[in-house]
Amino acid sequence: MTDSWRVALRDRVARRCGEPDKHFARYGYTFGNWIDAPPGARLPAFLEVEAGVADYLRVAAQTGRHLGTVAGLAIGGAAATLVFLVVCVVA
């Protein structure tokens, strides 16, 4: 169950975000320069790459949030119904 859920999440992230090599090819050699730059190098071109990485991670987070919400509504809804009935009977 957990494994299939992880696989579903991985596939969704890959579909929504795209493969990193294809996605980041747009930055060309600047991407390699950014990797090799010392920490704290704030060139506009590097900020653009970092914004791209942050945006990629944002889309991944959004995908995770969406899947978590769908699963939470389904599992939580079922659990809530069960709990409601038990509480009604006990009370």
């Binding site: 060309g28 050699y29 900020l47 709990v83």
Partner: protein, 460 residues
């Protein structure tokens, strides 16, 4: 067998190992005849070459490559020595141009072409032309090479030391080129600058490498310098006056030379421009191997043009442009493709520029880098200030990606691929964390509401 290389304030001692493969490879050289001056008369020298390695017992470059040339007579040995000596001198001068920052000795990077030092088998001193023999006031680029101890028995019983010459050069690992790149691997471009600058300088010295191809380009990392470096200078020759024969690899031959070779009516008359163009064509091929993949270069670019089977794709600018557009279908790469295809044409930026004696490689590479910058990055690039909040939210992940990519020794393309892998796994991690968080929120929330409703309904 020990080789001693020394210069002002440095000393390298190489212990030569017996060859792993005892076979000797016949190699022919066409070198200027001694005393022939500028007449261009050449002497064919047949040598048998033993390939082996050497380990440095002192500080500096650790592993060395050794070629041991066996000549037939003293005349051949002396003519070959002079040729290799001049070749080594030209290579050193080309490398010297790359700047002294960080370089302490001439046998340390940065290099555009791996330096070669000639060593005489008879143990006599060998030093670069122009260098004076005394240790006082010697130029900083001076290299004195000497062979200590006698030739080992594995060279051959009774071998005459004065018929042997050794060429020693730093050993660099061969590069594994990517097979296919569906998106231009432009992260490599900047690493070719040193090689391009050195090639221009070599041409300014009126020398040509003549065998610039993917197999002869390696990746060199030493202390804080790294970049692509040319190896195997066996075919390197003086371009002006040009030699009458040329050693190279047919697959990577420049179109002008192919036409000369295949058209008997034109006669075989080499010119300095053709030799420079051969090197420049080789550089274009190597850069395209990095950008588009070696398989694509060898099977498409250097193959016959399907629209005109008499010619290779690489012999026509429109054919190269068409092939690259098919390979990188995304229209955003059009400016890059246009600049990459230009030198394959016959116009002022093609054949004319390639065969000119003026420097070309560095300016061409700068134009390619500039064209890459003109490629549309998604049409609507994200404004950086708006992304500041997003950047701080993922700052930890972003820094972790860079740290992972930089960890341990790796070439720049390997570091780029590591970064891709790290971004992929970070994305999964972020997604999973969010999924678990929101699953928990919805589950706990729904159960809490159910309990409250249950108490209200049941209690009432």
């Amino acid at each position: 067998m020990v080789i001693d290389l020394s210069g002002p304030n440095w000393h390298v001692q190489l212990t030569v190992a017996p060859p792993v493969n005892p076979d000797r490879k016949p190699v022919d050289f066409d070198v200027p005849m001694i005393g022939a001056g500028a007449s261009g008369q050449l002497r064919r020298i047949r040598t048998e070459v033993i390939f082996t390695t050497a380990a440095n017992e002192r500080n500096g470059w650790q592993n060395w490559h050794v070629k041991i040339y066996g000549c037939a007579d003293l005349g051949d040995a002396e003519a070959l020595r002079q040729h290799l000596h001049e070749q080594a001198s030209a290579l050193q001068r080309a490398n010297q141009y790359l700047g002294g920052h960080g370089r302490r000795t001439p046998i340390e990077p940065p290099w555009a072409v791996v330096p070669v030092q000639v060593v005489r088998g008879d143990g006599q001193l060998e030093q670069l032309s122009g260098a004076v023999t005394t240790r006082l006031g010697t130029p900083s680029d001076q290299i004195v090479a000497q062979l200590y101890r006698r030739l080992p028995s594995w060279i051959g019983e009774g071998a005459r030391p004065d018929l042997y010459l050794l060429a020693v050069s730093p050993q660099i690992d061969l590069l594994k080129w990517e097979s296919l790149r569906r998106w231009p691997g432009t992260e490599h471009l900047i690493d070719f600058r040193q090689l391009a600058a050195g090639l221009d300088q070599l041409h300014q010295l009126k020398w040509a490498h003549c065998d610039l191809k993917p197999d002869n380009v390696c990746w060199c990392t030493y202390q804080e310098t790294s970049g692509y470096v040319l190896i195997d200078t066996d075919a390197a020759t003086q371009a002006d006056p040009p030699p009458s024969v040329l050693r190279g690899t047919e697959l990577y031959e420049y179109g002008g030379l192919r036409r000369l070779r295949t058209d008997p009516a034109r006669g075989w008359h080499l010119s300095p421009g053709l030799l420079y163009a051969q090197d420049r064509f080789g550089l274009m091929i190597v850069v395209l191997c990095a950008l588009a993949g070696r398989h694509w270069v060898e099977n498409t670019l250097l193959n016959m043009d399907p629209d005109d089977p008499r010619h290779r794709v690489a012999d026509s600018e429109p054919a190269v442009q068409k092939a690259l557009r098919e390979h990188w279908a995304d229209p955003r790469w059009r400016p890059l493709i246009a600049v990459l295809a230009e030198p394959f044409g016959t116009g002022p930026r093609g054949q004319i520029a390639l065969e000119a004696s003026q420097p070309w490689a560095e300016a061409w590479l700068a134009a390619v880098i500039e064209a890459e910058q003109r490629c549309d990055r998604d049409g609507s690039p994200q404004p950086v200030p708006a992304a500041t909040e997003l950047l701080s939210a993922y700052a930890g992940h972003i820094e972790a990606v860079r740290t992972y990519a930089q960890h341990g020794p790796a070439t720049r393309p390997e570091r780029v691929h590591r970064a891709y892998d790290a971004i992929g796994s970070r994305a999964q991690e972020v997604a999973l964390r969010q999924a678990v968080l929101w699953l928990s929120i919805w589950c706990l929330g729904a159960v809490a509401v159910a309990v409250a409703l249950g108490v209200l309904v049941g209690g009432g």
